[in-house]
């Protein structure tokens, strides 16, 4: 399994990860090497084996919707890179 420069670029786009030319080269090489070694997975016979997403068999953990103290807006916004009028300020979504 070789990953081409173009494939790496596509994955970076999906992950919204800015990459430069050197990254593309390096990741293409390293990820290819890693994935080649992971071919061992394909050799394991998993016919009829269900997938495990979680080590503890829990499903649909629910609880009552009770009011409880929560963080104040000022505390929540204290780490915001940009804020305005008690809201997170974002860059224009539509160009």
């Amino acid at each position: 399994m070789r990953l081409s420069r173009e494939e790496v670029q596509h994955i970076a786009l999906l992950a919204r990860l800015g990459v430069d030319e050197a990254d593309l080269q390096k990741f293409s090489e390293q990820l290819s090497n890693i994935l080649e070694n992971f071919e061992i997975l394909q050799k394991v016979d998993t016919t009829g084996v269900p997938p495990t997403s979680h080590p503890v068999a829990l499903s649909n953990v629910i609880r009552d919707d009770e009011a409880a103290p929560s963080l104040l807006p000022g505390e929540v916004l204290a780490n915001a890179p940009r804020e305005e009028d008690g809201c997170f300020r974002v860059r224009a979504v539509l160009e």
Binding site: L17, V19, L41, P51, H54, A80, E95
Partner: protein, 491 residues
């Protein structure tokens, strides 16, 4: 002051209770040790000097009033991926370099309620991704047994600070070995509890189905004491398990006669150093001497596929968890950008280091259209098989014993250019997270003055059994008594 350096929790507590030492004195001794050796070790991302002294004064008042617990006034370090209200929590990443959490992680809240003195936040591999602490975005930590070598990772700072006397105990987190491997590399005790035993609320998520918080301590007794304090159901973590918490110190009985101990042969892997193998075989011989029945012929045949299984599942979960770092709500944000997407890409390009990027890429690939079934779904099925093999083994054996790592601590820089070699460093520890079972690493000896750890594994919620075996072994050998040579001045 020398005598105070390597006190255990239970020893320090005894002195505090008798009034022979104050928490302020213990805290000052820890801070002084930090001043002496920290330049060489770099175990801390942040030292919280003032907070620690304030907490110590408060603890001393509590002790005077008579209302205190075994952890009141004891200096501790918290790995820097657990939220601490008012103290920055960086995950050793530029992304969170100046992030100050507005709330405490559940474990921090629990320890604070007991009167913890927090001396600082622990260095680590960025977002807990790494096996050597070299992937810290700030600086690598150094092994106190040999400053040219890595302390292991990702909870490198936690293991170093406990081993070198910069604090008395620490909390680490373990996703594929991140508590046990550094504990082994630094000759301290490290426990990864059963998945769901300890609340993950306020632990910055790496791989949510694998992450678990646990103690890093000087001895097995301390490990039980800290586990007592942090274990238990938490409604804020829907994956925590509602199950009574026993008093783990009750399992500290130095008697393992008649226990069935299995040695899975796949763990004596190719590439394992002969010195490490020798130490572990001797340790197993010691367990036999103590009356355990050793089964040398246990097999976990899918172990060779565990590494690939882990490195598909963990990065896939990581890429989803790390999608939240978009430069909008908190964390680093690229100051100049043409558009929203450009801002997000630049934020993540600068904010994440190379290993984090590599794993985000790997996870994104494994989950992308056309590869999901071949990689992610396949890995999930192999995960089922690995968990089944463990549960079959535990039908025959009370515990399994393996090396914690196939090598002694390696040289700083040695594996940085070869991610796959670095990943192999966790080959003995990561199957345990895949299966969600508990594992403990205890000091088992040395090869050329470099520490070797022995890993003890049990079925889900068998922490009492693990502590019992670890305690019996520790009492019979005392490897943890030996202290690292790191000195304040010169080399």
């Amino acid at each position: 002051m020398m005598a105070k350096r390597y006190l255990s929790i239970h020893e320090a507590h005894e002195l505090l209770a008798k009034g022979e030492v104050s928490s302020v004195e213990l805290t000052e001794a820890a801070l002084q040790r930090i001043d002496e050796v920290e330049e060489k070790l770099r175990a801390f991302v942040t030292v919280t000097r003032e907070l620690a002294l304030e907490q110590a004064r408060h603890a001393d008042e509590r002790i005077k009033s008579g209302e205190f617990s075994v952890l009141t006034g004891i200096p501790a370090m918290i790995k820097d991926n657990m939220c601490t209200r008012g103290t920055r929590t960086t995950c050793a990443s530029r992304m969170l370099e100046s992030f100050v959490p507005p709330y405490d992680a559940a474990v921090v809240e629990k320890l604070n309620a007991q009167g913890m003195v927090m001396v600082g936040k622990g260095n680590m591999d960025e977002f807990a991704m790494g096996s050597s602490n070299e992937h810290s975005a700030f600086f690598p930590a150094h092994n106190p047994w040999d400053l040219e070598r890595v302390p292991g990772g990702s909870s490198g700072g936690a293991a170093v600070s406990v081993a070198a006397g910069e604090c008395i105990y620490a909390l680490g987190s373990d996703t594929g070995g991140s508590i046990r491997q550094p504990a082994g590399f630094c000759s301290v005790v490290g426990l990864k509890p059963t998945y769901g035993r300890v609340s993950r609320y306020g632990l910055v998520a790496f791989a949510s189905s694998l992450d678990q918080i646990g103690p890093v301590t000087r001895d097995v007794t301390d490990c039980a004491i800290v586990l007592n304090a942090i274990a238990g159901y938490d409604r804020q973590d829907s994956t925590s398990v509602d199950r009574p918490v026993p008093d783990y110190t009750k399992s500290l009985v130095p008697d393992i006669s008649g226990l069935r101990i299995g040695v899975p042969r796949e763990y004596f892997v190719e590439g394992m150093e002969s010195g490490v193998e020798q130490v572990i075989r001797q340790a197993i011989g010691k367990l036999e001497e103590l009356g355990a029945e050793i089964d040398w012929d246990v097999s976990l045949p899918d172990t060779p596929a565990a590494l690939a299984c882990y490195y598909i599942i963990a990065p896939s979960e990581a890429m989803a968890n790390l999608a939240r770092y978009d430069g909008v709500k908190y964390g680093y944000s690229a100051p100049e950008a043409k558009s929203m997407w450009d801002a997000m890409e630049k934020t993540r390009q600068y904010g994440f280091g190379p290993e984090v990027k590599r794993r985000i890429m790997l996870g994104t690939y494994a989950l992308s259209a056309g590869y999901y079934e071949a990689y992610y779904l396949k890995a999930q099925k192999v995960r089922t098989l690995i968990a089944r093999e463990f549960s079959e083994a535990f039908a025959q054996c009370d515990v399994l014993v393996t090396p914690t790592s196939p090598t002694v601590p390696f040289r700083i820089g040695e594996k940085m250019d070869d991610p796959l070699q670095m990943y192999l460093s966790d080959v003995c520890t990561l199957p345990i997270n895949i299966a969600g079972i508990p594992g403990i690493s205890v000091p088992a000896g040395f090869v050329d003055d470099l520490p070797v750890g022995m890993q003890i594994l049990g079925e889900p919620f068998s922490e009492e059994m693990l502590l019992r075996v670890a305690f019996a072994y520790e009492q019979a050998t005392g490897w943890g008594e030996r202290k690292p040579p790191v000195q304040g001045k010169g080399r």
